[in-house]
Amino acid sequence: MDGFIELFLSGITRGSIYALIALGYTMVYGIIELINFAHGEIYMIGSFVALVVASLLGLAGFPMLGILCVAILVATLWSAAYGFTVEKMAYRPLRDASRLSPLISAIGMSVFLQNYISLAQTSDFQVFPYLIPEFEFLEPIAHILAPSAFLIIVTSLLVMLALSLFIKFTRLGKAMRATAQNRTMATLLGINPDTIISMTFIIGSALAAIGGVLIASHTGVTKFNIGFIAGIKAFTAAVLGGIGSIPGAMLGGFVLGLCESFGAGYISSDYEDVFAFAILILILLFRPSGLMGRAPVQKV
């Protein structure tokens, strides 16, 4: 039974990270129908910025919790700036191009960013400083739920709640939903689609960065290519939930995390990554609209 709970919790932990990244994919896809391949790289950049900030503050002797908060904040800001810049440079000029062009541009951007970090920082595994404080009330279940895992689950749930409220109630959130529904109509009603698309990239990148910092402090390492696998898995989560749907991305993240965790625990841990890819392929083949998505209508 303990084993089951442990696998369940580790699944939820992974799942919440996947969900955080998947939100960025799903929001971008909802508005401009582009698989933003560079999104996983933004997540990786978040972890590297946090690493630099944490080392900097660590040498200056700040308290641990303070470092964590500042690191998350700075990483979020910088990743958002990266997301914004990537969109402006690589995707905006291709707004009216055929559908393959922005996709290839996104792959190029992803390759570029990975190699940028590998050259600017290191191409090896980089040790990430331990930033998570011990929570006293976790003592009795510490053997199945690490404090970092607890922090990941709580933070991502809070962030997701905030995002849902933002999308539902604020002016900007409404404008984003309107643009996703029908861009031409939204433009006619006085919404500037370029601003909305930029905002989508900024918010998505910020969420991915939070995920990046949390996972790096959970596993204790980061590397220039962690964004690739994490990005594909998060994309799987987004597709699983129904791409374009925000609650779908959250649900998809958790479902994928649990599938992987139980698959690795009960079947074989060597093929952990294969489960995610297999789920992705099966979903796309049999239910491309996902768990919560609407089937697209193809107009000729």
């Binding site: 950049i45 630099v52 992803s110 390759v111 190699n115 796309l284």
Partner: protein, 405 residues
């Protein structure tokens, strides 16, 4: 003035953007930070200059587009006069062929090795171009078919002692079979979903090669793959390298000529129709499923052949040669050369394989620059360096001589 002000702002933006990652480097073993302020200067200056170029290029691009909108059917410039002239193209072909044939006689073993890789890349570019360029289906897992070819040879040799000439058709067949197997389910997917599913297949293939240790020896790979024999001659190391070079050249030529012929055939035209508009081509009576299936299968067959050639060239294979980065590299060949263009693949593959070798200083940054090149190509020249040319039919030729007079 406006230009300079904008460029200055952009330059400051990029300095801020790269500040934490380029100026600071964490040395975790000694727990210190390495400061590299000089990098900030480089970023500032290069961002300034590059942004000015970017703005100018953007202006050029919008002018280009406006002239396209004026619907001039064919712009006659130096480039098109050269490529339209059959004599010049023929002479160019002969010179290129002569250079490629004579190359091993003039260069060292190391050079031959590089050029063999370049020719294998040409084959891969041509193969991938069938499915990406002609049929318009973005495949992101091409390295998987390449791996299947290479591992077919490796495993056949390891377990049954099979030689190169027997393994070559086997590798092609197994890869082709694999291509059909992958294409059957994905054929109804469109555009980006197809890209992501093929990426998934590519990664699954690599993970299986890495984890199925009993058969594939996992990350250790397969070594001692034989070189092909030339009758019963005992060849030196360089001698076999030259022999492998000529075999690769032969297959590259076969791929090249067959694609040139195939492009204007019935199948080739149906691929191009599918890539232009799937629904419309289906309405016109093209069996789109069949067209995509043949494109996938043929593309995979060429990847399989390239895989066998690669295995015999390096004599050692492991899963590290077949990652997503390799798939992206092959895609980069197609994008650089021009999607749907046959001649473009020569240029694209040579650029990708040879530039890092001959510009040593640049080899460290090669993937960085190839990534940037993909983005820039899509923005400024989506048709590639050597755009494909559609076959032209002259009414006078079709009608016969009366129409000419």
């Amino acid at each position: 003035m406006y230009l300079i002000k904008r460029s200055l702002l952009v330059s400051i933006w990029f300095v801020l953007l790269t500040l934490p990652l380029l100026a600071v480097k964490v040395d975790t073993t000694n727990e210190t930070l390495i400061w590299r302020w000089e990098n900030m200067l480089y970023v500032a200056v290069s961002a300034f200059v590059l942004y000015m170029l970017w703005l100018l290029a953007m202006r050029w691009r919008s002018r280009q587009r406006r002239s396209e909108e004026l619907a001039q059917p064919r712009v006659h410039n130096l480039y098109s006069t050269i490529t339209d002239n059959k004599v010049i193209v023929g002479a160019f072909n002969l010179i290129l062929l002569a250079i490629l044939v004579l190359l091993p006689l003039l260069s060292s073993g190391y050079q031959i090795n590089i050029w063999t890789t370049a020719l294998i890349y040409v084959i891969l570019g041509l193969g991938l171009n069938i499915v990406v360029g002609f049929a318009g289906q973005l495949v992101l897992g091409y390295a998987a078919f390449y791996a299947v070819g290479a591992y077919t040879f490796g495993l056949l040799h390891q377990n049954f002692g099979v030689g190169f000439w027997v393994a070559l058709p086997c590798g092609a067949a197994v890869a082709g079979f694999f291509g059909i197997l992958v294409s059957l389910p994905v054929i109804r997917l469109r555009g980006d979903y197809l890209a992501i599913v093929t990426l998934g297949f590519g990664e699954i293939t690599r993970l299986v090669l890495e984890n199925w240790i009993e058969v594939t020896n996992g990350p250790g790979g397969i070594s001692n793959i034989p070189r092909p024999a030339l009758f019963n001659l005992e060849l030196s190391d360089t001698g076999t390298a030259v022999w492998v070079y000529y075999i690769v050249l032969l297959f590259m030529l076969i791929a090249f000529i067959s694609l040139l012929r195939l492009k204007n055939s019935r199948v080739g035209r149906s691929w191009i129709a599918v890539s232009e508009d799937e629904t419309a081509s289906e309405v016109m009576g093209i069996n789109t499923t069949w067209a995509k299936l043949t494109a996938f299968a043929l593309s995979a067959v060429w990847a399989g052949i390239a895989g066998v050639l690669f295995a015999t060239k390096t004599r050692f294979i492991n899963p590290d040669s077949f990652t997503f980065m390799d798939s992206a590299l092959f895609l980069c060949i197609v994008v650089l050369g021009g999607m749907g263009s046959v001649y473009g693949m020569l240029l694209g593959a040579f650029a990708i394989a040879l530039l890092p070798e001959y510009l040593r200083a640049f080899s460290e940054y090669r993937m960085l620059l190839f990534g940037a090149a993909m983005v820039l190509m899509m923005i400024f020249r989506p048709q590639g360096l050597i755009p494909p040319k559609a076959r032209q039919y002259r009414v006078s030729k079709l009608l016969g001589k009366e129409a000419q007079s």
